[in-house]
Each structure stands twice: as C-alpha cells, then as structure tokens.
C-alpha cells in the first residue's frame, strides 16, 4: 500500500515539473520541426483577438499569426495561437518559449532596444482619441475646454491628455477610474463629458453603450500608437513576417483576394508582370522561398488562406462588423489612397 502511495506521489510530482526543452538551431528550424508556430495574442480584445464559441481565437491580430503559419508551414491552421497577458507574453518571448506575438504592442524606442524582442512590421496605426455623446454638440476636441474626462488610472492615456490640453492652454477635469466596466458605466451615465482611450478601444467601447448611435468619436487623434508584430529575434523569421505582410498589402494593391486568387493563378499568363512576380512559379517569391527555405507557394498560401490586408481588416473591424471601423483616409489605408500602408516591392 505504502509503495503504491509513493509511486503515485512521484508520478504526480513529475507531471508537475515539466522540464523545458532546450531549443537547438534557428527559430525557423524549430518552427518547422515542431510543425507549429507559437503566437501570443491578447486573451480578450474584441475585434483583435477573442475566442469564438469553439475556444479558437479570432480577430484582426490573430490573422497575422495565421499568416505566419501559412507562409512557413503552408497551413494557417498550424499557428498555435495562445492568449496570454501583456507582461507575461513579453517574458515568454524573451525566454524563447514562443515564436511571435501579435497583440497590439506599440512599438516604442525603449521596447525595440530590448535585445530579446524584434519589432518587425506595423500592422495597425492606432492613436488616442476622444468619444463624446452626440447631445453634447461637440464636433472637435478643440471645443472641449473645461470638460470632464473619463480615463484609465495609471495609463499613458492620462499623460497624453495632460500634454494635449496643456499645450492648448485648455482646462479639464479627470475622472480617474481603473476598472473598465466601471469607467464605461460612469461615462454612459453622464458622469463625464468625454471618454479618452485608444481609437480602436473607443470603437469597441461604443458597442457596449445602451445606444451606440448616440455617441461619436472626435476626429483628433492625439498620440501615435504603431501596433507592431513582435518576433523572437531571428533573421529569417523576421524576414518572413515582414514580407508576408508585404504580400498582403501587395495583393490588396493589385486587387487579389482569397476569393479570386485561384482564377488569377489559372490565368497567370495574361496577368501583369507584378502579379506574375507575386504568384508565378519562377518568380520573385520563388527566389525568396528558396533563400528562406519555406514552401515556394508561400505568397499564394497567405492570400488564399488568410486574405489580403483589406480583407482581413474588413472581416474583423470593417463596415459589416460590430465595430464599423472606417478605413478610408485613415493611416491604415493603402498609401495610394492616402494612408501609411505602403507595399514594399516584391521582386
């Protein structure tokens, strides 16, 4: 009897202390041999990454995890997407226990200077904004002199507000509420005139209003928040993530979508040179695949399985979603339409 107890105890302790695997070789080799790319996302950020009814993360940010899966392993489904808190996700990356993070991380100088993290490419340009009730009759943030602002305690939001109002010699009062639900309740109950937060956060917050149509977001964006993909430092992995994103931008630029990519490939001989370079057999993407040691059809895989940048944007944040985020004329539009999304040449 005693021996059984001891045996079971030992088994129990062993199952607790799972020793870590020592990774050998490059990050890319590790991804290929394990047949999965571990990608960290925010466990609950509506529109960007939230588990669906089957517990699978869905959203704008998760699609860049899937992009990496499609490019490196030929299957977007091989992205092993894990929801994890912000500071934990940074630690996990630095400890080399994950390959990448796609979780709305603002690229700042001091963060990028950290040797354990590689900031690769900005997938979304966000910034801090203001939301007001339409009844207030305010059309611009410059009319907010003397307003009461609801904002999160201890965030950079408050610093940005102080800068912005201070520079314009405007007065304001802050209603400092740490808990998000309490903050929204205070705002929708009319305790403050203005709710300040990141633009995209305001969009999803507006969906939680009793009458979303009664609120609007003012046009002024008072800070720069380039939300960037982060990878474990590895030259090949960084190149794949960077160019995978360029494929998504280029595809949008040439009107190639997940829907029409097959018919375009069938009819490739009649396509312009730029499209041939993106989808052809002996093409720029083929050369890149050889050098990076990834499947030759990686660009096709990304477009077919994930879609172009515009598709991803519309799917999770666009007009037909709860967020109704307008893209036209914002920094997230293609550069040809006045945005900052500038497709690098794939050749």
């Amino acid at each position: 009897m005693r021996r059984v107890v001891v045996l079971v105890l030992v088994a129990f302790v062993l199952s607790f202390a799972s020793a870590t695997l020592v990774m050998a070789g490059s990050v890319l080799d590790e991804i290929k041999s394990s047949e999965k790319i571990i990608c960290l996302v925010n466990p609950n950020s509506p529109g960007f990454s939230t588990p669906d009814s089957k517990g699978v993360f869905q959203g704008f940010n998760t699609d860049f995890c899937r992009m990496a899966g499609a490019a490196i392993l030929g299957d977007a489904g091989k992205a092993d997407i894990r929801g994890i808190g912000f500071s934990d996700s940074m630690k996990t990356l630095v400890a080399r226990k994950a390959h990448m993070a796609s979780r709305s991380i603002t690229n700042t100088g001091t963060r990028d200077a950290d040797p354990g993290l590689a900031f690769v490419v900005t997938t979304f340009y966000d910034g801090q904004g203001f939301m007001v009730a339409n009844d207030l009759g305010v059309k611009s943030a410059t009319e907010l002199n003397g307003a009461t602002v609801c904002a999160e305690e201890g965030s950079t939001t408050l610093l940005n507000i102080a800068d912005w109002f201070g520079n314009r010699k405007m007065t304001y009062k802050v209603e400092n509420i740490g808990d998000k639900t309490a903050r929204l309740q205070a705002f929708y109950a009319g305790k403050c005139d203005v709710l300040a937060s990141d633009y995209t956060a305001l969009l999803s917050d507006r969906q939680l209003a009793p009458n979303p149509a009664g609120y609007s977001i003012l046009p002024e964006i008072i800070s720069n928040e380039p939300l960037t993909l982060v990878a474990q430092p590895d030259q090949d992995l960084e190149a794949i993530l960077f160019w995978g994103f360029q494929v998504m931008l280029t595809a949008e630029k040439y009107g190639i979508t997940s829907q029409n990519v097959d018919s375009i490939v069938k009819d490739l001989s009649n396509q312009p040179k730029s499209v041939k370079r993106l989808l052809g057999e002996k093409s720029a993407v083929g050369d890149m695949a050889e050098k990076l040691q990834i499947p030759s059809g990686w660009a096709y895989n990304i477009i077919k399985q994930v879609g172009n940048y515009g598709e991803v944007f519309e799917r999770h944040l666009g007009e037909n979603t709860a967020f109704k985020l307008e893209r036209k004329g914002t920094p997230n539009d293609l550069s040809s339409r006045g945005g900052l999304m500038y497709a690098y040449p794939i050749r």
Binding site: M1, V5, A11, F16, T50, G55, R82, Q207, T321
Partner: protein, 358 residues
C-alpha cells in the same frame, strides 16, 4: 373513597389558523409588521421581474441571436452557443472531453469524500491518484493524448484544480502548523509556525499570488521550470494553510487541559495522543471556522485572473466579448453565479451534516 385517578386538565390546544400564525410570527409588533410588509413588497417586485427575465420575455434555447436583439429578457441561445467556451475556454475543442472528464473526476472525488467515511490512507491515495489522473488527462502527452499547454487550460477545470486541490493540500499543512504553534516543548518550531502564520495573514492574497508567480520560479533548483499555473496552486495552498491552522488552533484552545493529561497518563506517544485524542475533538470544535475558511477560499480562487489565469469568471467575460454576442454579459454571469451558488451550498450543507454527525 374516591378511587378515580386524579385527572389533569390540559390547557386547550389553540386551534391552528393562518391568521393566528401570522399574528404571532409575522405581525407581533409594529416593527415586525413593517419588516414583513417591506419584505413582501420586495418579493412582489423582484420575483416577477426575475421570472419574466428568465422565462416570459426570454428567448429559448432554440432561438438565435437575431431574436435576442429585440427581446427584453434573457438570451438563452447565448448559453447554448457559449456554454463550452465558459466551461473550458480555449482548451482545444476536439479535446474538450478530456477537460470535462477531468472536471468530473474532481467533482466525483469531492462527492465520494463527502458521502463516504474513509480511512486517512485511503483519502491520501484518492487525492493523489485523482490529482495525477487530472493532470495526466489535461496535460496529455501520455497514452496517445495530444499535449495541451497549461496556458490553454481555462474555465472550470482550472478553477477546480486551484480551488479544490489547494484547499485539500492546505488542510494537512494547516494541522501541522496549528500543532506546531500550540505546543511549547519546541520553541523554535513554535516561533517558526507563528511567524509563518502571521506573515501570510499579514499580506493580501494578491501579494501571495504575485509571490507565487515571480518568486517561486526563482527559488526552484537550476534546470527546473515551474508552470505559472502550478506555482499559483502552491501559493494558494500556502495561503489557505495559514488560515486553516488558526481555525484548528481555535479548536485546540478550547479543549480542557484534562484531555491532554489523560492522553499523557495513558502512556501514549505524542503522535497517538494527537491522532487519537486531541485532533478528533479539536477538529470537531473547529468545524464551523474551518468551513468558513474553505468556502471563503473556494470563492477567492477567482482572484487568479489578476495573474493571467482564466477561471470561469474570466471565460464568461470572453464569451460576451465576442463581437456578435456583446450584450449578454448578464446571462454569462447568471450561469457562473448559479455554479457558485450550487457548489457553495453543497459545501455548507456538508459542513452542517458533519457538525451533526460528530
């Protein structure tokens, strides 16, 4: 001579009537009447409101989200759609039977321990065996089960693991701490136990959780890596043990001196004095306090969301964060509240039964 037995006359039995009963129990004086009327008015307001929210104005399980948008009551299709997410979170969908089975094992284990009287040895075997089975099922990588990382464990199984196992493991530790603090033969042992208990009771649970997350991995031997989930399990156990120790010490203190002296005079060794004479009586006295700690600790487990572990309260939030279902937080929390109510009620019912039995 009067040979009749003296017969006693009983006071007349008051005939039972509702008005009489109500007068005595509900309207005995002005203050009681006010209380009765306020309670009745409150019930008249709340019961129909809840009833119509749950049933009359609600959309049944067969409906869909479009129907919910125009309904005033509960949206039960939300629960049909999201129940598995709330229960098992991001545990891989096809493997969720494992999470369900693991949860059932823990619930079954607790049920057996509540309903059957078992020897201490049998209990230890059940706990350790059940724990190993739980971890094996959840973690996988054995018997052909695919591995599932602990970051993907969410919802009910994680809650049960943390709440049930931490409290179960805290109990023996609490007994040892209480005994160490109560005696005065070994002063060093006593001051260590006192110091430990006062330290843990002197800091909030959150501090202990952060300690588990950040300090515990640092003091692990080189080459060992402890998963945050298990670090938090250990932190919770260390925390609860201090409170249970004080509950048991309360029981030890009310035991008359004579009990210790009687055990001594029987020539029993310390071990048997404690096991056969002292503890059974002390635990009996400490039962209400212990159950207080157990139920409190059980509910405090949901604080782990602060350290990035998602129990059912957190998966409920995930469920109504889905852009298509953002308006149904009340339904999600209703479900979680129901779980807490039923499980806590079972716990305190067990506590009451145990008090009667011993």
């Amino acid at each position: 001579m009067n040979t009749d037995k003296p017969h006693t006359v009983m006071p007349p039995k008051p005939s039972f009537s509702v008005t009489n009963w109500a007068r005595i129990n509900l309207f005995s004086n002005f203050f009681n009447s006010v209380v009765t009327i306020s309670v009745v008015l409150f019930l008249l307001w709340i019961v129909p409101a809840v009833f119509s929210w749950m049933f009359i104005n609600a959309v049944g399980f067969g409906g869909d989200e479009a129907l919910c948008r125009s309904a005033e009551g509960a949206c039960w299709p939300f629960m049909r759609e999201k129940a598995r997410l709330i229960l098992f979170g991001t545990y891989p969908y096809d493997e969720q039977w494992r999470a369900a089975l693991a949860s059932l094992i823990v619930i079954g284990l607790v049920a057996i321990l509540m309903l059957k009287r078992l020897s201490v040895r049998m209990m230890i075997l059940l706990w350790v065996g059940g724990g190993a089975l739980f971890v094996g099922l959840m973690l996988g990588n054995v018997m052909g089960l695919p591995a599932v990382q602990t970051v993907q464990w969410n919802g009910l199984p994680v809650f049960l693991l943390l709440a049930v196992f931490s409290l179960a493991a805290a109990f023996p530790l609490g007994v040892v701490l209480a005994l160490a603090r109560f005696q005065n033969q070994h002063l060093l042992l006593r001051s260590l136990a006192t110091g430990y208990i006062e330290l843990i009771r002197g800091v909030p649970l959150l501090t202990v959780l952060f300690m588990g997350l950040f300090i515990l991995p640092m003091i692990m031997p080189q080459g060992f890596f402890i998963e945050p989930l298990f670090a938090i399990l250990i932190a919770l156990m260390l925390f609860h043990a201090a409170y249970i120790a004080e509950d048991i010490r309360g029981g030890l203190q009310v035991l008359p001196r004579g009990q210790f002296e009687a055990a001594d005079s029987l020539g029993l060794k310390y071990r048997y004095q404690v096991l056969l004479v002292i503890l059974p009586q002390a635990l009996k006295k400490a039962l209400p306090a212990i159950f207080n700690t157990l139920i409190g600790g059980y509910k405090d487990t949901s604080l782990v969301v602060i350290v990035g572990i998602h129990d059912m309260l957190s998966t409920a939030k995930m469920a109504y964060s889905d852009p298509g279902w953002q308006k149904y937080g009340l339904e999600a929390y209703f479900f979680v509240g129901l779980w807490y109510f039923i499980s806590c009620w079972c716990l305190s019912a067990y506590g009451r039964r145990l008090e009667r039995a011993v």
